[in-house]
Point group: none
Chain length 194, copies 4
DNA sequence: TATGAATGAGCATTCATTCAT
DNA sequence: GATGAATGAATGCTCATTCAT
């Protein structure tokens, strides 16, 4: 039978919940929190409207769970970025990539800022931003020590935002220089600073 | 329903336009871009609804002009912050204040992030973010040189966001240390680096 | 131009508010409080949906105002019923008509019960039911004295409800007998009981 | 969203049907016909949503059966009220109690009016209102004769409604007077009038 | 048999915008 | 010029009902 129609009958559909969450993140990245509606999400997830309201008590609830999923996925991704880092140079290179990341990084970067802004007004979301901050600092601290990690974290956040908004990309060299300067002269060993 | 507040007849009201823009900024700071509507703004400005649509062609237009006003005011404010700075120590102190600014700074910081996020999706707003970035870097560069200014700008942005979201304020000492480290050892003279 | 179309442009339309209230009463009489929605009312009043929500802050508000209008109109109508009553017999006859009133009375009777039931759950509506009770007792008391008026009022209410629900109409004779018995032997004079 | 309350597995549950009906009556008494939904009823009966739709073909059906149960229970209760009545005075006293019944009577009174109003629009329910009217008149008639019973029935209905709505309870004396006057001078014997 | 998931229709309400006055 | 009324589109959400398991 025609299986490519507007919507196939999908009475049995586990992980629909998760699909909705991912669709919500997509929509939020594209249209911002303001443009995120039950209908847009439903369309993106290829799911009837009622399905979205069935699985989530409210739009705010859906948003919160989507952000939670984002932090969870992002933490894993972030961790993996540094998995194979063995030298100081590799570490720096990964960070530069992070800032200059192409469209692939775009989505997650935008979502990150969207989450930050949302958390500014919704204290319930603070646990997520705090978890995310703590997590990323912890990963960085394995290479730099805690103090430098916090500084680096802030610097990266600022540079990523600027990179997203810049008319033309800043040269990688400038980014690298900023990172190296922030890391300071002492950090030569790949893991931890004594 | 027709909600008629107690509103005095205001026959001659030359800076109503400006009052509306300021009200819009207030509302945006409080409720975010999403919660900013003609009605909320009109109520905040204590002006009839029709007045808002009369003075501005569309909500997007009003928003853009409000952001423009924000950048203009903010640039002046930022400039003034450094007016009396004469020593390296004073410079650092002003920057630390910037990050730990109390509720007074809160509004403008939130609006800054709101503008950044809006600009991410609306290219028309990029001229504003670019002007603002250029402007603040220029001011900083008077004390640090251009390269350091860019780094410092990014660091401050990241730290301000973290400060806004932190459960409990980070110690001023950590902030100061981050700034001092970013300024580097060479920057001793208050004005410009050779 | 075609003026009989689905909806004529009606930019200038005073007493639209009142028309909406009357439409609301019509709908409530026909479909009950449960079936009364913005949309049904708008359709009945031949007015766009937005017009209903523009003029009334909420559906509850609209309902309350409609009931208020009902009580107001009904009081006047009730009063007028007894305008020309001069003899005891005429008085009795008007009351019997009240109970056996045809479809013309049907609407108002149903609305009356609808209001009573609504007031049971919404204390704000109690002022209306109390005004209405007080008013009708006052009119009746002009012919019977206060004590009898209250009894009569209750009796009429019960009989009207039974008449509305009866499979086949009770004989006017029985109604008259009940009324006469309630009025008691003393009430001969058309106005007031000594 | 899937709201899973703490619900014990209830494998063998023979009178679940009845429990649902009683829950429906509770909900109807509290929130009115309008607020009576499958979900509210299920929650009140502490039963899964599917269980309500499983046992009853439609909401209208459930409502009708609930009303039927109400009439059945109410008839028995009403009958029992007069079981021990032996004198005229006792009879009057029971009737006065009926009107001034406290919160215990509140539920059934409200449900009675709810049923009457529903029957006004749904002819299927008329068999219930007629049965109920016939039944209560029959009980009363055992003490008064048929004519007086009908009058009394109407009077009681009106007085009960007024009592429910009155800001402050009318004095029992007035109620008693109304009843005594309606019973008339002849009714002295406890059972039947020849 | 019992039930959680699913869905389409409908509802109250908000809102940007237009327009007659 | 200024504004209250008006309106059509959209939004968050609820709900009766169906159905696969």
């Amino acid at each position: 039978m025609a299986r490519t129609g507007a919507r196939r009958a999908r009475r049995y559909d586990p992980d629909r919940r998760t699909r909705i969450l991912d669709a919500a993140l997509d929509v939020m990245a594209e249209h911002g929190t303001a443009g995120t509606t039950h209908r847009t999400i439903a369309a993106r997830a290829d799911v009837p409207l009622g399905s979205v309201t069935y699985h989530f008590a409210s739009l705010a609830d859906l948003q919160a769970q989507a952000f939670a999923r984002y932090v969870e996925l992002q933490s894993a991704t972030f961790e993996k970025l540094f998995e194979d880092v063995e030298t100081h140079e590799q570490f720096v290179e990964v960070l530069v990539d992070l800032v200059h990341g192409g469209p692939a990084r775009h989505r997650s970067a935008v979502l990150g800022f969207e989450l930050h802004l949302a958390a500014l007004r919704n204290p319930d979301l603070r646990v997520l931003t705090q978890a995310w901050t703590w997590e990323s600092r912890a990963v960085l601290a394995r290479f730099t020590g805690p103090g430098t990690a916090a500084r680096l974290d802030a610097l990266l956040e600022g540079m990523i935002m600027h990179a997203l908004l810049a008319a033309e990309p800043e040269p990688r060299e400038a980014t690298r220089a900023a990172i190296v300067q922030t890391l300071g002269p002492a950090t030569h060993t790949p893991r931890g600073d004594p």
